[in-house]
Amino acid sequence: MKIRLRDLRLIDKPNDFFDLLIEDGYIRYKGPSSKFPKLNCDRTYDLKGNFVSAGWVDMRALCGEPGYEHKETIASLTETAKKGGFTHVCVMPNTKPVINQKSDLQYFIKKSQDTGVILHPLAAATIDTKGEDLSEMLDLHAHGAIAFSDGLHPVHNADRLLKILQYLSKFDGLLINHSHDPLLNLFGMMHEGEISTRLGLKGMPSLAEEVAIMRDLELLRYAGGKMHFTCISTARSVSLIKEAKKEGLNVTCDVAAYHLLLTDHDLMSFDTNYKVNPPLRTESDVKALIKGLKDGVIDAIVSNHQPVNVEGKDLEFDLADFGMINLQTVFSQLVALEKQVSLELLLKKISEEPRKILGLPIVNLLEGEMADLTIFDPTAIWRYDQNSNTSVSENSPFLGQELKGKVTGTVLGTKININ
């Protein structure tokens, strides 16, 4: 099978147009149209100056299946990932059953085979993500767990966290922790600040995240090993991690794409689609997160895709579940940031950087490599609505909006997915 992709370019070389020949899932030619090998291609796609990059990687998405298929299935998740330009997605372990054993890993790996997206199930660090007994990390690692995480929950017990870090350090395993103090956040609905005061909603103080990150960094210093802080959301969290990196601790972090755009002001109308965890913070936090991206303190950007069915969202504010679907809208969010951060850098945060953190092969778009690429148009406008949304759930405040920045397609091996 020979596929020709015509008229592509790279984001850092916008004047340099080229074609790709993909044969049986591998890049066989990259160069100008005029020198394209004389052979018959099975299909040719004229991409009219679209950009191409290494396939994008999302480090944090929640799947409903197994257990919560009414929120998301593996089929809908992989479809949504492709629409969003992702060829690799790390799936949180908070399914039912929780990803505790090698058979749970296999379920994801098998069911996502041949979908054009590789799902990387994150294995639970503690049994059922309850924060108590350790999961069989050695065995899970041996059977394809790319990293360990309790997903939506932090590893709150300091002793357990210490032992997990020590245990993982023996095989250079990675712990991904959503650090926050659950007691300081207890009954919290949104960021604690002026807006929560005006709305009379119980706040989730920035302190709850920062206290936990401080503690976790100390435990990491003692235990060794490496830790990835996921979805950091406050200015102080950025500076804490900056210091830790400076000191040489083996630490990386990410931010949810929407945390770079939205603030607690968006909650004034009690729209539950903005009810997320970590909560939307303030303008100054957003500024610090963007600066952290530029400075390299924040390594990656994630979707933090969390599907919630309408019965769990269309409710009184305090009863509604946390979370926002986002796999399909990450790219438009990055395009919206283009004036503040170069798209080139932003794209690194969803391709090269997460690949490094997870130990996935780095893609350079060279001849001989397996095809793993995303094709996109940062200027195209598209409508995100019930028709174009491919998730089972609809919990996005962006639904019904015209968005700038469209994913044209992905290629993963022999799986060509071009609109």
Binding site: L186, E194, L315
Partner: protein
């Protein structure tokens, strides 16, 4: 005829100072009506109002019902304190059921913050928020400000201290918004754990010493300690609270001026307020209750006439 800027009363936050003045002027007229031998006017004849209370209430519900009946509205009541803990379809389904009986206005109390806002997106009827969780209780704030205006002539320029559990109080939040819109200065006073950390962003003063708060203010609005709304322990004991924050006659006699004492009720006598003050000459607590009916009549009447 003048009109309100909104067709729902969801919170004081969402209305203007002009709206408040209009409500006060209308309430003046209704208060006069309430002192006539025949206290009923036909203003809301053919209007059906549902009072839906998902949280316990005695006086607010009674006050609304009386206001509705004095306006000749048809009234239906629904109370259920346990529905509120079940998941949300209860709210929408319950209200939809009631509305399919052709109800024009809904007066709702609910334990969830924003519940009336949520409802306003779902149904056509006018909505009056009779208290939503720890958010707002707009008619209480209106009747409180109206009572201050009645007692002191004007609200503008007055110093009002709100004393007690500010963190869990919808009365405090609505009062802050209303008093500020009318030009009063507001102070909140209570144990530090019962004062929201970012309350000063609303432009209020904060004081933790009740004597200083009393010395500063013209009006002290004493709030009920809401033990039922506290999900977490915020202070050590009611004994300690009443010793350090309870208002009694002795405290007031140490002041070199007379201040007005208010309480939204129901009073925990001997906890936040001693009987010698609640029933004393400084107290306008019963005037608040009386004004509540006139204010609620004004609100319902004005909302019904918004085109």
């Amino acid at each position: 005829m003048q009109q309100l800027s909104t067709r729902h009363l969801l919170g004081i936050k969402d209305i203007t100072a002009e709206d408040i003045q209009l409500i006060f002027e209308t309430a003046d007229n209704f208060k006069e009506v309430l002192n006539r031998p025949i206290k009923k006017v036909p203003s809301l004849r053919d209007i059906t109002i549902a009072n839906i209370f998902f949280e316990n209430s005695t006086r607010t519900k009674l006050s609304f019902e009386l206001a509705e009946k004095r306006l000749s509205a048809d009234v239906v009541n629904f109370s259920s304190s346990n529905s509120s803990v079940k998941k949300g379809e209860t709210l929408v389904d319950t209200v939809n059921n009631i509305l399919s009986m052709k109800v024009d206005m809904v007066v709702m109390r609910h334990s969830s913050v924003g519940a009336p806002h949520y409802l306003s997106r779902k149904i056509q009827a006018n909505i009056v928020n009779a208290g939503d969780g720890t958010h707002e209780h707009p008619t209480q704030a209106l009747l409180d400000a109206f009572s201050i205006r009645e007692k002191l002539g004007d609200v503008a320029g007055k110093k009002v201290a709100i004393i007690g559990d500010i963190l869990h109080s919808r009365v405090a939040l609505s009062n802050i918004f209303a008093l500020q819109k009318l030009g009063a200065e507001v102070m909140v006073c209570g144990p530090i754990t019962l004062i929201p950390k970012y309350i000063t962003s609303l432009g209020v003063r904060v004081e933790h010493d009740v004597r200083k708060a009393l010395a500063w203010c013209d009006v002290a609005n004493i709030l009920r300690i809401q033990l039922e709304r506290q999900q977490i322990k915020y202070f050590p004991s009611l004994r300690e609270y009443s010793l350090y924050y309870g208002i009694n006659k002795k405290l007031l006699s140490q002041l070199d001026k007379e201040i007005v004492i208010m309480h939204p009720g129901p009073i925990n006598r001997g906890v936040e307020l001693n009987s010698d003050v609640a029933d004393g000459p400084h107290s306008i607590i019963l005037n608040q209750v009386e004004n509540g009916v006139a204010i609620r009549m004004a609100v319902l009447y004005l909302l019904a006439s918004v085109k």
